[in-house]
Symmetry: C2
Subunit: 427 residues, 2 copies
């Protein structure tokens, strides 16, 4: 498994002794966990540190849930839900109407209608709840859990205890004490892994395993990536290459990076990517603004802006070369739609041609382009890809001399809401 | 019905004799259909020109489909699908599990897996197809229709004719000739209304009526808006105000406008807005880049960037004051989650407090803000809102001295794809 990286400019010209030296220091700091924010570098070697017992416990829990539940409600916001949702959506076939078990999210927003209708929807189904919050104090998931905990207790009585699973910090937080008191099964969010880097911990793995995807292959892919990107080499380490190119474009005054795909199932992977890069780099009035488009849909929408609007953006394409299920254009007797010239072409080949057409149109509009290509969508490749983005994001933020692992701006909002709602201690 | 517009700066200071004079010319040109691209101003007085016969024909067709079908497959891309999808999603309750009829989109992207699985999904359901393409030659929907037309003919034989409805130009295009030859029921996309301004024509109205929403109320709201915004007044015409404020911020070197909502059901309305503004303004290397966020979800994601990243963005909030279904926070005996301080608060009140907290946090981060508030989500208010955005978008593009109604950049891509696929005549 690997990722091919292409660039519309000349990558070799971007390699200077200065940037190589700077990246070498960054790389060594990451290896030795000595850089800015290195208390949160737990994800960097997490895949290889993962032990069999842990994976087994997740898998056994998932198997139990799959046996006794129709729905897993995952309560979490930000990094506590985007990773698993990204992986599950990418791997679930379109129109998957009769899944063995449904994974539904809650507490990722505060819609009273959503929560009320969700509880109604659950009434004739067997349910397990997995509440995920590292701090255990984030208001949105805590609110949703207050309602759903009561729902589970009202409905299942004592059995509710075995149908509620908590994923939180091992040492502190009100969710930890609550779950100890109640006797809920617990998984840990490692203290040294922040939300947006947590997809390969229990945060992501439990929902992904419940949805029926191989967490073993996912971790294997990430583990391969970990080994691959340990090697410092400006010419073979594609995580370095992606970071160098986007940093160069940032320094050339491009302000927006658009992650473009041709597969609608990747919409949540794009959302995960936006959180990862936006929250890691968007500090000290720096960083590329991360946006996403789904082609060819958005070629008939934002495509116009990309082609001809302000020249402040570049595109990163994420291309999947092969698809498991496809259709070929057949010859129509009556060529009324004038499409017979496409006879024999598969729809994926059409998409690859679309990519070529888009790339050449946007290049003529002076939009720089990075191409990231993977062979097909499966657990192993996605594990590799997730790790690729995480490590490349850390390089990227360090190149801006920014701590990739904190989020001071989110704390401002959290404090404001406590003040407005008059939370004791915040008035 | 109205929309309240607020601004974090002083709106009065933005009113100069120059801008008022400029807007007055723009406004009169729109009224008299004399400005740049005015051949495409059909939408401007469409709601009031609409006759009862037309509305009845749409409603009767929708009623027939609702009686004999379980699924309506709408084939269209860009403006041919975003409008109806935006309205249907905004009005459909969460977890609406047993709709009388499902509206499913196709041809808005080219995924072989999606189309193959869709046809499998349809097998045990009664189906009607509505193919929508103004030109009738856009490749993506034409491809999807080739497959679905064959599917319908194989399955329904002669009955297929009455289960396929075509929405296209009245004068030209291969879809028109095909539908004449086959004898399909036809609706017209008026020649003087472009895709992204077509939501209130048959393009949007038929799918919306099939989904069970009142197109009469939708059109009524748009018609009220039309009357309201006919009046040129810098202080009461909120469509002018929104255009003036965003134009001012653009001139102050803000590059990105983020449409932020607190209601997840508005996600496709945001996509519709992105197409409307991005495709109307993104030309001649001008225009604000339109992005969107769904709060409070994205406060735990892009929120960090908005708070602390590059100071190139401003926010437009779209706030819904009241929700039909809501929940109140109850008092928990065991206050383990420490949320009892919120007892009695409704979740919508929480969202409004979130808006306040976000607004004040982002203001302290020097992010200018526009607030657009409507009372509740219903057909009439949405009709008003859609018209508000369309008319304000036209003002906005004209302020940049840009034709709001063409999309030359999309044509570049379309021509490229024909060349790459060697379409006869394009080699």
């Amino acid at each position: 498994m690997t990722i091919k990286v292409t660039y519309s400019g000349d990558y070799q010209q971007l390699i200077s002794p200065e940037i190589e030296a700077k990246l070498n220091v960054i790389h060594n700091n990451m290896q030795n966990k000595t850089g800015l924010g290195s208390d949160y570098l737990g994800w960097y070697d997490w895949a290889s540190r993962m032990n069999e017992t842990f994976l087994q416990e997740i898998q056994q829990t998932a198997d139990r849930i799959r046996q006794n539940s129709d729905v897993l409600v995952v309560i979490g916001i930000g990094g506590s839900y985007l990773g698993s949702k990204a992986v599950i959506e990418a791997l679930t076939p379109h129109f998957h109407t009769k899944p063995e078990i449904e994974v539904i999210y809650a507490g990722h927003h505060v819609s009273g209608e959503y929560l009320a209708k969700l509880m109604k929807y659950l009434n004739d189904k067997e349910v397990t709840v997995n509440v995920i919050s590292k701090s255990g104090t984030t208001t949105e998931p805590a609110l949703a859990f207050r309602f759903l905990q009561k729902y589970m207790e009202d409905r299942y009585g004592e059995e509710a205890v075995s149908r509620i699973i908590v994923t939180t910090d091992a040492e502190k937080g009100s969710l930890l004490s609550l779950s100890k008191e109640k006797g809920y099964q617990r998984f840990e969010v490692p203290a040294d892994i922040g939300g947006r880097y947590s997809v390969l911990t229990a945060v992501g793995l439990l929902p992904i395993a419940v949805a029926g995807h191989s967490i073993r292959d996912l971790v294997k892919g990430a583990s391969t990536a970990e080994k691959t990107f340990k090697k410092f080499d400006m010419n073979s380490n594609v995580a370095i290459q992606y970071a160098v190119i986007r940093n160069h474009l940032y320094n050339q005054n491009y302000s927006i990076e658009i992650l473009a795909t041709f597969e609608p199932k990747l919409a949540y992977l794009q959302e995960w990517w936006k959180q990862l890069f936006g929250e890691s780099e968007g500090k000290e009035q720096k960083g590329l603004f991360p946006a996403s488009v789904s082609f060819s849909t958005d070629l008939h929408s934002l495509g116009q802006y990309i082609q001809d609007g302000q020249r402040i953006l570049f595109e990163s394409f994420l291309i999947i070369e092969e698809t498991a299920t496809d259709l070929s254009v057949f010859t129509a007797e009556n060529n009324g739609d004038e499409l017979n010239y496409l006879s024999g072409l598969t729809l994926n080949e059409f998409n690859l041609a679309c990519y070529e057409a888009t790339s050449s149109a946007h290049l003529s509009g002076e939009v720089p382009q990075i191409g990231l290509t993977i062979k097909e969508l499966n657990e192993e490749n996605i594990g590799f890809l997730l790790y690729f983005y995480m490590v490349s994001c850390a390089y990227s933020a360090y190149l801006l001399e920014i701590n990739p692992f904190d989020q001071p701006g989110v704390e401002d909002y959290k404090t404001n809401i406590f003040k407005i709602l008059q939370k004791p201690g915040f008035i």
